[in-house]
Symmetry: C2
Subunit: 188 residues, 2 copies
């Protein structure tokens, strides 16, 4: 008889996490990922994005049988019809969910049990930039402020330290805090 | 009898667009927006974001009767269960939907009728950064590549010019290409 005990903490398979890290140390190629999205404009401010396949861990992922469908739109005050959150609101979601994953995975790796974790996040934006009314105002947020609450079996000091580490390694936070090359081309 | 003819192009109310721009010229305060999101961790890589209210155009918006609910998760190869796209995939959606809005609104303002508009977008990421295995590898994408296709009643030259203008004024593109201050604090 074989008994398998899953070593899970915070819903994270810690053995798989350690296994992945070791596999990457043996073969750095495993760490290379290519993510993709396809967006089609619907009407007015409304567009729709499909996200399904990606390349990673040396092969094309086939775990998603259907694409995720995300609606983007503006509220009426910004000339839309609320078919979905707008693009800058989606940025807040991306950032929060990135920090959540980072916090939970790293807590699991350190043996910290998390009971609850939540984020309140906001961004200030001045429309002068988007509307081309001022060269001095950036189109994006002036700043983003994140407040998080966590209950876990570790002293506050340890949680702050973990939060600082998560900030250093968060993909989305990195892309916001630091410049990222983005190329845009019109295909015939 | 009063007859109202809506001046719509690409689904955009051009009169409202011009009216908004003029209102902001008269009162710059109208341009100030504050967007928000609340995220709660569910389990493992899975978290859930609610987006509803925001402040803008000098008042609190009440147009959304229910919050938008966005799921974030990782695929199994990244220790999740595919309850939603992951955070870096969501960034691609935010960027594409931002460019779509910018392109459509500005086309409408210039009297260009758009028949279709779509984006293919991808990003390359090396997990060494997220996993803390290398200080030399950034956690986020190395780069993002966007290809777009558009059919519209304007010469290609004009569409390329429009695309360049949209890049200059896109809030999400600005936040990715240029550094953004993000503050993170643990609330008791």
């Amino acid at each position: 008889m074989t008994t398998t005990i899953l070593n899970k903490l915070n819903g994270v398979d810690v053995d798989q996490l350690v296994g992945t890290i070791n596999a990457i140390k043996d073969n750095p190629e495993i760490a290379r990922f290519n993510f993709r999205a396809h967006n089609e404009w619907v009407d007015g401010g409304h567009s729709r994005t499909e996200i399904q396949g990606f390349y990673g861990a040396t092969s094309e992922d086939i775990s998603r049988l259907e694409p995720f469908v995300l609606e983007g739109d503006e509220p009426p005050v910004l000339l839309g019809e609320n078919h979905g959150p707008n693009a800058v609101e989606v940025i807040l979601h991306a950032l929060a969910s990135c920090l959540a994953v980072g916090f939970i995975y790293n807590a699991a790796a350190q043996g910290i049990t998390v009971e609850c974790l939540e984020f309140d996040i906001e961004g200030e934006l001045d429309l002068h930039g988007f509307l081309g009314l001022s060269e001095d105002v950036r189109p994006g947020y002036d700043n983003i402020e994140i407040k998080y609450r966590v209950k876990a079996d570790a002293p506050r000091e340890k949680l702050v330290e973990l939060c600082n580490y998560v900030q250093k390694t968060s993909p989305v936070l990195d892309m916001l805090r630091n410049p990222l090359p983005v190329s845009v081309s019109l295909v015939d």
